[in-house]
Symmetry: C2
Subunit: 347 residues, 2 copies
């Protein structure tokens, strides 16, 4: 089969690789219907996150089950499924409590020895614990597919930021980061009943999506100027809940600064850099909570899926370009230079 392979910074190729096959009785093989490129893939693309030359890449996909191992009981060939961005056994303490990202048998698509999502097929370990079934007729529903694909990571991650920041009905929420995760955070905050949602961003194409997702205000300023603007908008207090969807020291500093005393930052931007953006003295004096991390998408997909299918939320607008597998290297370039927000791959 053909799959995306990363050889080094800015060196992404589509190559012929071995077909996936069942290696363990709990495995399934899924033929990919749609996948995408994530903002976090860019850390590898840019060489900030190191990869072994020849490693696969991509961790968001949905597809059709092609084959299952002898221990798989929840799926049969032909089932349409979405995969969260990590696999997990579904049976350990962590999986049972809904923190599948800490499963001791879990892993991340594309890690050495595993398939990546940006390829024609994927071997899925612990299929019963990992995959979530989708309606079979959705497989040809081009209107529905992008929203379902977003559950794999960005929508679930935006939701995790909102849950971690304790977004409640009536809350004032600020969202730091205008990428697909930040935008999905806006959508998640609206879904959780936030009264006011302030999106930080200056690119019209993105802030337009933020507004369509429920942002009531847009702040173009950054850093201290953004904090000042948001304090002024909130009677000097700041936002009850702040979603940090970037992962830099600067964005963390901004997120903490614009949180209302007693409020929480839900951080889901993969941290790059140290902890210098975490001002523990400021957090202490103002009782700011810092919560979040890698989103347990598997725990969130069922409830979010129900709302996507019901039309309550539709994260599809985060995808602004659709390509085929051969277009993937161009897709990375487009996301790297921010000419594309999020690129979807169809097979």
């Amino acid at each position: 089969m053909r799959a995306t392979v990363i050889h080094g910074p800015h060196d992404i190729c589509i190559e012929e690789v071995p077909d996936p096959r069942i290696q363990h009785p709990a495995d399934a093989v899924v033929r990919v219907v749609s996948a995408c490129i994530c903002g976090s893939d860019l850390w590898a693309y840019r060489g900030v996150a190191s990869r072994v030359a020849g490693q696969r890449i991509g961790h968001e996909f949905l597809g059709v089950v092609e084959e299952v191992g002898s221990e798989v009981t929840g799926f049969t060939p032909g089932d349409f499924v979405v995969a969260p961005f990590v696999w997990s056994d579904g049976t350990c303490d962590y999986c049972r409590q809904g923190l599948q990202t800490s499963c001791p048998h879990g892993g991340f698509w594309g890690e050495v020895g595993s398939d990546g999502g940006q390829g024609e097929a994927v071997r899925v370990p612990y299929a019963d614990g990992t995959l979530v079934e989708l309606p079979r007729d959705a497989v040809t529903d081009e209107k529905l597919l992008p929203g379902l694909l977003a559950l794999s990571d960005v929508m679930s991650t935006g939701h995790h930021a909102a849950i971690s920041a304790r977004v409640r009905p009536g809350a004032t929420v600020a969202v730091v980061g205008d990428g697909a995760v930040g935008l999905c955070g806006v959508l998640a905050a609206r879904r959780l009943g936030a009264d006011r949602i302030i999106a930080l961003g200056r690119h019209r194409s993105r802030t337009d999506i933020a507004r369509s997702f429920g942002a009531t205000d847009v702040v173009a300023e950054r850093g201290e100027a953004a904090t000042e603007a948001i304090r002024e908008m909130t009677g000097g207090q700041g936002a009850h809940a702040v979603l940090e969807a970037v992962g830099t020291e600067e964005s963390m500093r901004t997120a903490i600064s614009l949180t209302r005393d007693g409020g929480a930052v839900g951080y889901v931007g993969v941290p790059h850099g140290g902890s210098a953006g975490v001002d523990i003295g400021q957090m202490f004096d103002r009782n700011i909570t810092l919560a979040g991390g890698v989103a347990p998408a598997r725990a969130y997909i069922p409830e979010l899926l129900a709302d996507v299918l019901a039309g309550v939320i539709d994260p599809a607008p985060v995808f602004d370009r659709t390509i085929d597998l051969d277009g993937v290297p161009d897709g990375y370039r487009a996301m790297d230079d921010r000419s594309a927000l999020k690129v979807r791959i169809t097979f």
Copy 2:
């Protein structure tokens, strides 16, 4: 009247100062019955936290109302009261939500222009918002007084750590810090229903108190060795809730490391040093929450007071030495060299 005054590092004196008087209609003057020295006072004593020469000191006291301003409606002369370690107006958004430490009219006893708790009397701003009434007959109850005095700070702060760390019935809790706050954190965790409470400490006199407060295990190791020991005790997972009651980078690093994935650190140790102890990468991968800060003691005192009066909790054992006002300089020396755990002052 006479009060404790700090002139510089290691320079604490008892001096004649002006008698407090009502300056604003919401003020009360309280004659101090009992006060104490706090571990956090040592930061000023050691010169780590700067003070203006001649500043008052001490932020924990209980006493009898001597005089009230014309706007005070909740107290009359003769009332026996305890003061939380900050004053607050009792009417603002933050006070009404129980975060009195963020009250815009609030302040900290001993700050420039205010009285400190380690003196014969104190002018209390916003008496109605600040003070909590105690049973009048408790004023002569030498058995009850120490436990009531602990509500002013250490017991409320230990409770804040436990609440912030999300201690729940059945939880495994670890407590970093064997000072009075850490020990009160043990007591708070037991009160909240923790199943297993692991106290970090190596001084027998302190770990004995920890055990009497409900610690089920004591770990003498520090740093990575403590983390390893606690992981081994918890099936490799760590503690659901970790109370950080020291405030150094090392203690924060330890607290985060020994938290179970998905768990929370409740931090109440006044941060000294930067954020280097906050390993944001580790927190991200394991979904660790960092919550806490300066404890809104005023919010907690009513419910904790009820349990002290009912004998459900008795934090009194954290006081291991009682002195009079003239003994205060010696009291600081004793706490500084750790020969005393917490020193109580009677008047």
